[in-house]
């Protein structure tokens, strides 16, 4: 064994004041969340896909000299080529242009439905949770009864009655779509409303809406954000599903759903007409799902499995 000279040993003096020092800079909750989110490769991949999709939805339709609605009956059902990057459909319309034009509509429907769900859900769930007692009982009973109504069936019936269109589709989707959000918000508010800072705010004379929007909602933002992110793909899916039943946005408007449903009919001979819209539907749903999962893990690491 090697001999170590005694001089090399030095006592380390524990400084009491040093022990209390925080060596790392303190992170705010959202900084912490963003660090955790950025470590999640799959979620970052999803985010990149989403950014590209949004970029293409904005600029894609202008990248070609074609218009989404102009027929070109001399060039119908062309396979993908240098002239038509994604080919053309049965009326000779450029599929590339239509795909990115459709991205606008599909993403718009997804975002709009999710945001309306958010507004109604936050207000409904917030009031039910904050008021409690009879109000809560009655409001949640109404939500329970509506919740029991099969979602897609109701949406189909409404679309049949209201007629096809962008607005009616969003309306049909949100008529019971907000309930999930309302339940989440109510659960959060019930948990948070007994915290000391709410009592402090009440003591300082803050009114109900201030407590609600300045104290409770910001603290419940995590679960709300996750629910929002995960409800967008389901709205996009519903749009595609309705289009497939012939209840989508009317022609010549293009959405991924209507394009895919037309593509299915031509599948045997012109498979690219299904391939492009279908791929982007799947990619979008995939991206929102992994971003939502990533957000959930980042917001609450205890939930990570």
């Amino acid at each position: 064994m090697q001999q170590i000279p005694k001089e090399m040993f030095q006592p380390v003096r524990a400084e009491l004041s040093e022990a209390e020092k925080i060596s790392k800079p303190s992170l705010s909750y959202w900084k912490d969340v963003s660090i955790r989110f950025r470590k999640n490769k799959l979620a970052m991949f999803g985010l990149v896909i989403l950014i590209i999709l949004v970029f293409m939805a904005i600029f894609g339709p202008h990248m070609t000299k074609y218009d989404y609605a102009t027929n070109d009956l001399m060039n119908t059902n062309q396979p993908p080529s240098a002239k038509h990057w994604f080919g053309t459909d049965d009326l000779g319309r450029d599929v590339f242009t239509r795909t990115w034009y459709g991205a606008r509509i599909s993403l718009f429907i997804g975002l709009a439905a999710a945001l309306i769900d958010l507004c109604i859900g936050v207000i409904w769930g917030g009031i039910a949770g904050l008021r409690g007692g009879k109000t809560d009982e009655v409001m949640m009973r109404i939500a329970d009864i509506l919740w029991a109504v099969p979602y897609l069936l109701l949406v189909i019936i409404l679309m049949v009655v209201l007629g096809q269109g962008l607005g009616t589709m969003i309306l049909a989707m949100t008529i019971t779509g907000w309930i999930n959000m309302a339940r989440i918000v109510r659960g959060q508010v019930l948990q948070l409303k007994n915290q000391e800072y709410v009592l402090a705010a009440q003591t300082l004379g803050a009114n109900t809406s201030r407590i609600m929007f300045r104290h409770l909602i910001p603290n419940a933002m995590g679960p709300i954000l996750v629910t929002l992110t995960l409800s967008i793909p389901s709205a996009i899916f519903t749009e595609a599903f309705l289009s497939y039943l012939g209840l989508g946005v009317p022609q010549p408007l293009a959405s991924w759903g209507t394009m895919a449903s037309e593509g299915v009919q031509a599948l045997q001979y012109y498979p690219w007409r299904l391939f492009f819209p279908a791929t982007f539907i799947c990619l979008t749903i995939f991206a929102f799902n992994v971003v939502g999962d990533g957000l959930r893990d980042a917001l609450d690491p205890r939930l990570r499995k």
């Binding site: 009864i145 019936i157 409404l158 899916f237 599903f241 895919a260 299915v264 749903i285 995939f286 799902n289």
Partner: protein, 311 residues
Amino acid sequence: MLRYISRRLLYMLVSLFLIVTATFFLMRAVPGGPFSGEKKLPPEIEKNLNEYYGLDRPWYNQYFDYLVSVAKWDFGPSFKYKGQTVNDLINEGFPVSFFLGMEALLLAVSIGILLGIIAALNHNKWPDYGAMVFAVLGISVPSFIMASALQYFLAIKLELFPVARWESLQHTVLPALALAATPMAFIARLTRSSMLEVLSNDYIRTAKAKGLSKGQITVKHAIRNALLPVVTYLGPLSAGVLTGSFVIEKIFGIPGLGSQFVLSISNRDYTTIMGVTVFYSILLLAAVLLVDIAYGFIDPRIKLAGGKKGE
């Protein structure tokens, strides 16, 4: 338990009443009567038709009649198919849809659970990643795209399965697979996460400590507890399979109730849309109720009678 069931039944009836009422008034709000087609009917015939179907009576009478006939399980005549009632259409199409749905359900549950267990037992190894990639794909691909892809590659290109129609068991494979894909993925994810949670419990360590083999622990202790969340998913699962069948049956040309429903939507056959919607709603509400009651029996820790007050 009995109190819980009767309360749930009451809520179910209220929901059903709401659905029937909503469909009735929504269908009445549609512009144009059922006989206002391209060809204008002579007024006498239209009057007779209206009398025959009771459309000349005031709306509250019609509404009341409809409620009574739904309670008697009678959904009235179809407006597009002469001489056929909505009940006929349901009796004709539903057995086919039921068979397809059950096959898909069985596939989804069995393969989903299996994948989930394999993934959990090999946590963070390649079978886990493989199963989860599969699950994410299954969730991201809508059923009608899955159906078209399966049809294109397995039936048209490789000719492994019949392309469409409903004749032999071989014909049922692709539609059932397409219908089962998304729920299968959900179940795999659900099983995996609940299995991982169960495996980290103390009683698993106890079982290990007393010398049980890995297989015995998995089968006797882990799986039984891990499957509880899967049971709760059976309610939404049946809804998914049911609505999924609309498009799947259409794509594969299956003469079930789902494709009938889609046809009645494009035909604007309002009584059929109404009848089938109510029928499906009853089915789904009953399924959800059954699942909840079954859950109460399987997992005695759930207190049913207290309701949701203490959440």
